[in-house]
Symmetry: C2
Subunit: 198 residues, 2 copies
């Protein structure tokens, strides 16, 4: 039997840094090989560490995937609130919205499948703390960009355009690459933010 993974609160110093290093490597593995490529063995090999360490840290593969999703989500939220512009404060609302979509599309490469799997649990697509955070962030930028319509309603629609299930369909079935997805996001932001008659 393996022990449960320690909670982030009980980790200190080296342990926390080691955990973050492992999660970053896990993200790289998914970006290169897809989610199926991320196994406990492969992570141990790439991190040049013992498999026992990986199991002690994350419990099992499901625990690793959960930790990775939380980790990338926390990173993303931190960069939206505290990070440098244009993702963080210090750029115009339109610049920040553009950067938001580009970052969401980049992130999809790593955690798209994890996000889709998490969303399928009940009503989480709209009704999770994560969904709410993003809705509030995008609403705030739309309001700052003086959109001429209900900002929170428009935020819901714009976030649909970045939803992992839509991005997945665009990639796999509609033949769109990341470049075309970003171009579409830029088109939407340019059109909805600000007064086109101004």
């Amino acid at each position: 039997m393996t022990s449960n993974p320690p909670s982030p609160q009980t980790e200190r110093g080296d342990a926390a840094r080691n955990r973050e290093k492992l999660l970053n490597i896990a993200g790289q593995i998914i970006a290169e090989q897809g989610i199926d490529g991320l196994t406990m063995d492969e992570l141990a090999r790439r991190a040049a560490t013992g498999k026992g360490t990986i199991f002690r840290r994350f419990g099992n593969r499901a625990g690793l995937l959960d930790s990775l999703l939380s980790h990338t989500e926390e990173d993303f939220q931190r960069s939206l609130i505290f990070g440098p512009p244009p993702l963080g404060p210090g750029a115009t609302a339109k610049e920040r919205l553009l950067a938001y979509g580009v970052a969401a599309i980049d992130r999809f490469e790593v955690t798209g499948e994890l996000q889709r799997a998490a969303d399928e649990v009940g009503d989480r697509r709209f009704n999770s703390r994560v969904a709410e955070f993003h809705r509030m962030h995008v609403s705030m930028l739309l309001r700052a960009g003086k959109v001429a319509v209900d900002a929170s309603a428009l935020a819901l629609v714009l976030l649909s355009a970045l939803h992992p299930s839509l991005l997945e369909y665009q990639r796999k079935t509609a033949g769109m690459d990341a470049g075309r997805q970003k171009a579409l996001w830029e088109f939407l932001v340019e059109r909805v933010v600000g007064d086109p008659a101004a």
Copy 2:
């Protein structure tokens, strides 16, 4: 045991008209009482017809709901292709797009729950004949409206804004009524169609 419902091809004249009359009444019942209000008993009562007729026609309640969804979908598609403007041909692309969204929001009142249930089967949200029909229709109008971006990719995003699961969330959780949903659709169409600098 009840017999299977006859296929539309074997129905002629009075039978087909009677079927259509029953389905229209079924739609009215849902609009007034929600989907739970539509029972075989209630349909027989409102149509002033025998319950046996209802069962012979639709098999059971699930068959009735399936028939109703196909019926309203066929009606909607027919009015998009052959109906009077602005939903059908004879209006500008922008007018037709505006009318499309308004009709989709009105339709949600009757068949929203049925559509959401049908979508949950596998990948049908994007990969059904119905989804494809609507994507092609909206793409065609966007192309005619000379949008400055990949029309089929933009169609996917705009259709997300009318997806029953989003409309449902807007109504039940975000407190939007049909009027605000239509105003949002009009804002989107005004912004994406045509050249804002022109």
